[in-house]
């Protein structure tokens, strides 16, 4: 992982079209501003991981077999 040090108000540019700015630093929280093309989805990682986990659970063979039984 690339680690860069930034101060409040400083930014990073990724791939010519995504800009990440440190807006505010307060204690152990920082506020980040992201300018990206609007078709680039940006999610909080914990939410993204939760959805990924649900997708993985949805395709479990055991669950699918139970479900097929229910729908008969």
């Amino acid at each position: 992982m690339l680690a860069l040090t930034r101060k409040k108000g400083e930014a990073l540019v990724i791939n010519n079209n995504i800009e990440v700015t440190v807006l505010e630093i307060r204690g152990d929280q920082i506020k980040i501003g992201i300018s990206a093309p609007k078709d680039v989805p940006i999610y909080r990682k914990e939410v993204y991981l939760q959805i990924q986990k649900e997708n993985e659970a949805a395709i479990s063979a055991e669950g699918v077999d139970l479900l097929k039984g229910l729908m008969k």
Partner: protein, 155 residues
């Protein structure tokens, strides 16, 4: 397009019925081709489980439902930009699906209302996205489904 599937045997789906998800399902970016498998005898408006069968990996099929059949006021806010690659969406060509998860106890089954799948039925392009609305990732559906079944039986 042919696929050997775990649950439906060998299937051969016409190219114009293949659903393409350029970004894949969340967590499964490599799976981009799907077939929607459903019971043709059922009315589209009626509750039923359908299957989003991966054509790239026959072992993978996502059980899905039309969420409005169990949550009539389901109306997530969908970012126009995220769905813009799907082309022009109208109420007539848009299909909204949500995945269903069944744990070992079937009465604990849930649907993920937080991450619907939007399909443009005209060009068969689809995307799964995460909505900002306060919808449940594990919305319990078993009792609702049983209720609907009883309603139908009592008709």
């Amino acid at each position: 397009m042919k696929a050997k599937t775990r649950y439906f045997g060998e299937i051969d789906i016409a190219e114009d019925k293949i659903i393409t998800m350029d970004k894949g399902m969340i967590g499964f970016p490599e799976l981009v081709h799907f077939a929607l498998i459903f019971d043709e005898e059922r009315d589209a408006k009626e509750f039923s489980i359908m299957w989003l069968q991966s054509m790239d990996d026959g072992d993978i099929a996502f059980p899905v439902i039309i969420p409005s059949t169990i949550v009539p006021d389901y109306n997530p806010t969908v970012s126009e930009e995220i769905i813009s690659p799907l082309g022009e969406l109208t109420p007539d060509n848009t299909y909204l699906l949500t995945t269903v998860k069944v744990p070992s106890q079937i009465d604990k089954m849930t649907s993920n209302l937080k991450a619907p799948i939007v399909i443009n039925m005209e060009n068969n392009k689809a995307v799964q996205l995460i909505v900002e609305d306060d919808y449940d990732v594990r919305f319990p559906v078993y009792n609702l489904i049983q209720g609907l079944k009883r309603e139908k039986a009592g008709e």
